[in-house]
Symmetry: D2
C-alpha cells in the first residue's frame, strides 16, 4: 500500500505539483467499457483550479493523456494509465519554502520523513493537485455505477461558519444529486450558497481562509456491500476520505450526534416496503455492521481551512534551526471545500465500485 | 483484506460469538520478544464483560491459549496464534432472532450478504466479542511501543449526554494516560465519571442504552510515521477504528471543529524547543499531510448507543416477509463506551507499531 | 504476505512442529457451502505420517477442530479456522539440534533470520508438518471445484532414480486422476510403483534418502484464468509450489524441454473441435500468456531428497562456532515425494479456485 | 496484485505494445538516492530490440521520461513514474491477427479473457515489450544492491540445443558476473557463444526459432532473506520469473537434478570459514527453508522458442469459428533468450532488494 490502494479496482497514483506530470494507473477495469470522455472532462473541470475567485489563480486544464488500457475507444481490460502533465507552474514562488516550513502544511513532517529530499515546490506530492487523478478514477467509476442505477452527489453543508441545508437522510432524487455538479457552489439552497460565498470572500479579503463540511450521499447502492471484519464500508470509505488532503473528520449517518442519543432514538426501525426491507429513519447512514443495508449511503466530512494564507505566521527555518516569520505569497484558495466536493464524490464512487466487485463471490 | 489487515504487522482474526472459539494470528512480530503475559491479561480484563453493572452480565474470562509463535517464553518470529475459547454462551437466548432482525444491528445486512447462512447467535462475527482479539494484538503492540517510549491512553469524553474534561492537546503525562486503565470508568475527572455513571444507570433503568465519545492520545510518537499517499496516519487509524463495532465517527485534532475556524486560527504555529520543532497549539492532532509531526497524536471517536435494548421495537421477520415487534431479552450492555476504550487504545497501538516498522526503509 | 497468501481465497497458516497446534484460517469462502468432512479427512490421511514404511514413524492423526466459520454444517461466509493439535511429539529427539545445524535443512538460515529464537524442535515452522493446513485448504477447494467439473490429480513420475509413465498431456480422465489417491503409491503404472518402492527401501536400508518428481494435472479448467501481468497462472502456482518444503523446481508443459525445441515443434497447433478451440499438442501445459487456454493444466515439480538422514554428516555448531559431525536419529521419511503429492494437488486446487473467483469481474 | 507486485518495493506496470506508451510506477524507493541514469540506459539497451541479427528488426530506443519521484537529480521518496513512449510501431503488420490466433501466443487465451477487447496489435500487454519496465526497475535495484556489495549476473546456458559452461556454484567473481553484460552474447565461454549463434542463425534461415536456458547468480546476498511461509525466496523469485513472457521452467540449485540424487549427495555439508558458516557444495542454490544461507543465489530458467515464426502453422479464426493456416510476417526474434537475460537479472535484483528491505523488522 501507500501509493497503491483498492482491492478489485486498484489505483496507483504518482506525481508532484511541480514535476513533469501527475497521473494514475487503474488496474481491474472490465474489458470493453466504452468510456465517456466528455463526462470525465466535466468531472476534471469541477476540481480544476482557476475557475472562480473562490479558488487559486493557478490555471491547470488538467488535460489528461490515456497512455494505455484503451483501444478503439474501449477499455482493453489491461491497466489504464492516464497522465496529466503539469502546465502553469510558477516554481519560483516556492523557492523560499525550501527551509521555511509552512504551518498547517506537510512541509515539516515531509521534510523529516524524506530527509529533505522531497520536492518542496508547491507541496510536491502533498499538493491538492494529486486529487486530480482521484477525480479521474471517480469519473470512470461513476459511469460503471450509473449503468447499475447507483448515483452519487455531495454538497457543502458548512463553509466559513455558514451552515447549509442537509440532505434528506431517506434519500434525495438522482437529479438532485447530479444537479449539484452544475451549480457554481454545490449547495442545495441558493440562499445558503450566497451566504457561504460572502463568508469566503470576507476571509479572502482578510488574507485568511475558511474550512467547512461536505455531506455525500449515494443512492441505489444494493444491500450487502462491505467485507467484515476489516473492510467494512466505513473503514474503506474513511481510508480514502482521510487520504484527501485537509480532511480531518469523517462521520456516517448521525456520526458524533449518536453520542447524545438513546438506543431507542438511534436504532432505525425496520419495515417491509413492497418486498423490500427499509428503515423509517436512516441514522446509520445506510451501513450496519459495516455492510450496506440498502438505504442511501450518507456521510459527512470535516475539512480544515486552507493552510496557505498571506497573513504573517510564526514558524521555523529547519536549515538554520531557528524561529522565523513567514508570509506566504503565491496563488492560494481562500476555501478548498468546493474543490473537495468532486474529490469526495470520486473516492466514494471508486470505493463503492470496488466493494461491489468484491461482493461477487460466485 | 477483510479478516486480514496490516502491513508489517498483519493480523488475521476469526470467530463467532457462539462458536467454539474466537482468535487471531499475528504475523510479523520480531523474534526474541519476551511477552509480558500479565499485562496482556490486564488488557483483556479491561474489555471483558461481566465486570460491572454498566456491562452485560455475560461472563467471559477471555482466557487465551497461545497455540504457536512462542517458545521458551519468547516469540519465535513465526505467526503467533492465540485462541480464545467461548465459554458462557446462552445460545438459546438468540434462537428467536434467526428471522427477526434487530434494529441497529448487522442482522439484516449480514443476512443479505451471507444469504442467511451466517451464525445469527449473538451476532456471530459481528459481535463485540470479536474485539477481544484486537485487545490481545494491542497489548502485544503496547509492550513493544513502551520500550521505545511511546505510550497510549484513552478516556470517555462523553457518555449518556454527559461531557467530560478533554486531554490537554499539547500532551498528557505517561502516568496520566496509563492511569486511566486502573479507574472504574476511564475518565480524567472523577466528578465527570460519577455523572456519566448516573446517566448510564438511568438509561438502564429505562430499558434503554446510551452512546458517547472516546478521546485517544499517544505520546512519544516520532515524527515521520505514515505512508502517503493512501496510508496516511489518519487513513490507517480510521480504517481500524471504523472496524470496531458501533464506531460511527472519527476526527483528528480539532476535526469537525475546523469547519468554523479561520486558517489563521487553525494553523499550528511552529517554534524551536531545544533543537526540536514543536507547535504552540496542536489543532492537527499530531498529523500533517498524513504524517506524524512529533506532537502528541490525538483523535476522537463517536460511538452509537448499544443497539440491543429491552424496549419493544418495530422491525421485520425476513422469513415471513412481514412487519413485527421485537423485545430483546438476554444480557446486554446499557453502555459499551467504557468497553470500547481499551479496544480503541489497542487498534491505535497496533497501527502505530505497524507504521513505525514500515517507516524503516533502510 | 508471508504467512498469509491468496487473493479471493486468503489463507493464513500458523504453527510449529512441536508447539501446541498448527492450523489455518481461510478467508473468502462463500456462505452456505456444505463441507464434506469425510473427504477432507481422506485428504488429510493421504498426507499424514506413519502410514507405511516409506514414511516417518511419527504418528499424527492430523485431526482438526473447526473453531469458526461453520454453523449447522455449512460455511457462514466468515473466516474458517481449523486447528490441528500436535500429538505424537518426541521433542527430546531434537534437543541436541539446538546448536548443531542439520545440512540441507532450514536450521542455519532460520537461526540467522530469527536470531536463534525460532523453535528448533522438529524444524519448527519449517517442518513438513505445516503442509497439513495446506491439505485442508486444498480439500475444501477441491469440493468447490468438483461441483464445477474441475478435477485435479498428481502422480510420482520419478523417485529414487526410477522413472514412471507420464500423463497424456491432452488429458487423463477424471477417474484416472482421482483414482491415484487410492493407490499405495500414487503412480499410473503398478510396475513403476514397485520399482520406486524398491529404490526407496534400498536408500532406507543405507540410512539415506531419495528425491523425485511429481506431475500434476487439472482437467475442466475453463479458459481465461490468470491475471496478467504479475498474477499469471504460472506465477501463482509456482509461488505456492515453492512454498512447499523440498520443492526445488517447477516447470509447465514441456518446461525445460522447450530449450532444445524449435518454434515449429513447440507451438501447439490450434483447431476447432465442436465450437471449442483446442490444440493438437499441449506443450504449453494449458497456459499461454499466463492465462489458461482450456487445455488440461499440466506441470511438474522437482523434489529434493529428505535432508534428514542417519548417515554421519559434516556440519557446524553455531554456539561453539566450530565444525562438528552429526548423525540424525529420530524418525524420518526415506522419501517424502509420495507425501508431497496430496500437498501439490492441494495448493493447485487452492490456486485454481482463487483465480477462478478473481476472473469474475462483473 | 496483477499489474502491481512487490512488498516494500511495489511496482505497477502498464502499457500495450502498440499503444502510446508503456511504463511503470515504483513505490517505496528511499529518498535521496542519486540515480545513475547512464547505467539505467545501459541496462535498457541490453534488452532493446534491433541490436543484432539475432533479434527483431523493430527499432525501439526504449528512451524513458521520468515523470515523477525525482527532484534535483535525486529520488524524492515519492512514487517514481517512468514513461517509455512507443515509437517504431508497424501496426498494420498485425491487422490480420485480430481474429486469426497465433499458436504459442496469448492471442486465444487473451481473446477469451478480455472478450475480444484486448489490443491485439503486437500482442498488446502480452508483448515482450512490457519487459522494458522490468529492466528499468532492475537497473534501479541493482544500484542500491551494488552499494551493499550485492552483484547479479546471468548467462545463456543453452540455446538452440547448444549447451554452455555453467557458473561455479560456489560463486563467480563480481567482475565475471558484471562482465557478461558487455558481451555480444552473454555466455561465459566465447566458443559456446559462437556455437549458439550458429544454431540461432540456422533456425532463422529456416524461418523457425529456438529456445534455451538462462542461469542467474547473485553474490553478496546476506543470509536471512525470505519470509516464510509463503514469501520464500524461491516463491518470490519464481513468481516474477514466471511473469516474464516465454519462461516455462524455474529451478534452484540442482533443481530437477535433485530427483536422482541421494540425501547424502544432495545435502550441502557445512563448515566454518573465518567465523562464517559456509557449505562445501551449493546444491541448494543459496536457499534453505526458503531463506538465503549466505551462499551465492543460483537458479536456472527454461525459455521456450519464440512463438512467432514465418513457417505456415495450423490455427483457428475465432471470428469465423473455423480452421485456417497462418504465416506470420512482420519482425520477429529467432531467439529471445539473449534478450531475456537482462530481464531475468532485473526481476532478480528487484526481488532481492524487496526481501532485503522486508527482512529489516526493527
Amino acid at each position: 500500500m501507500s501509493s497503491v490502494f483498492g482491492d478489485r479496482i486498484k489505483m496507483t497514483i504518482f506525481g508532484e505539483s511541480h514535476g513533469l506530470a501527475i497521473g494514475l494507473v487503474i488496474d481491474g477495469l472490465p474489458a470493453g467499457l466504452e468510456l465517456d470522455l466528455a463526462s470525465i472532462n466535466l468531472e476534471m473541470a469541477r476540481r480544476a483550479p482557476g475557475l472562480s475567485e473562490l479558488s487559486t489563480a493557478r490555471k491547470e486544464k488538467d488535460a489528461y493523456i490515456i497512455e494505455s488500457g484503451m483501444f478503439s475507444g474501449k477499455t482493453t481490460g489491461m491497466p489504464l494509465c492516464a497522465l496529466i502533465p503539469n502546465e502553469d507552474q510558477h516554481s519560483k514562488d516556492y523557492s523560499i519554502l525550501k527551509n521555511v516550513m509552512r504551518p498547517g502544511h506537510a512541509d515539516y513532517s515531509g521534510w523529516i520523513k524524506y530527509k529533505g529530499f522531497n520536492d518542496y515546490r508547491g507541496g510536491g506530492s502533498f499538493s491538492g493537485r494529486l486529487t486530480a487523478p482521484l477525480v479521474f478514477m471517480g469519473a470512470v467509476a461513476k459511469q460503471i455505477l450509473a449503468a447499475r442505477g447507483i448515483f452519487i452527489g455531495a454538497q457543502i453543508t458548512s463553509a466559513g461558519g455558514v451552515e447549509g441545508t442537509a440532505f434528506d437522510p431517506l434519500g434525495e432524487k438522482a437529479e438532485v444529486l447530479l444537479g449539484l455538479a452544475k451549480k457554481d457552489l454545490p449547495v442545495l439552497c441558493a440562499k445558503d450558497a450566497d451566504a457561504m460565498i460572502n463568508a469566503i470572500m470576507a476571509a479572502k479579503k482578510g488574507e485568511d481562509s475558511v474550512g467547512g463540511t461536505v455531506e455525500c450521499m449515494a443512492i441505489g447502492v444494493p444491500a450487502g456491500l462491505g467485507e467484515p471484519y476489516f473492510d467494512s464500508v466505513e473503514s474503506r470509505l474513511a481510508h480514502v476520505l482521510f487520504s484527501v488532503p485537509a480532511v480531518k473528520g469523517v462521520e456516517f449517518g448521525k456520526g458524533f450526534g449518536f453520542s447524545t442519543m438513546l438506543g431507542s432514538q438511534a436504532n432505525d426501525a425496520m419495515y417491509m416496503s413492497e418486498n423490500t426491507v427499509k428503515t423509517k429513519t436512516n441514522n446509520n447512514g445506510g451501513i450496519l455492521g459495516g455492510i450496506t443495508n440498502g438505504m442511501p449511503l450518507l456521510f459527512k466530512v470535516g475539512i480544515k481551512p486552507t493552510p496557505s494564507i498571506a497573513l504573517p505566521q510564526n514558524t521555523v527555518d529547519v536549515s538554520a534551526g531557528c524561529n522565523t516569520t513567514l508570509e506566504i505569497n503565491g496563488r492560494h484558495d481562500p476555501c478548498i471545500v468546493q474543490r473537495a466536493v468532486p474529490v469526495i464524490e470520486a473516492v466514494t464512487a471508486w470505493t463503492i465500485l470496488d466493494l461491489l466487485l468484491a461482493a461477487n463471490r460466485s
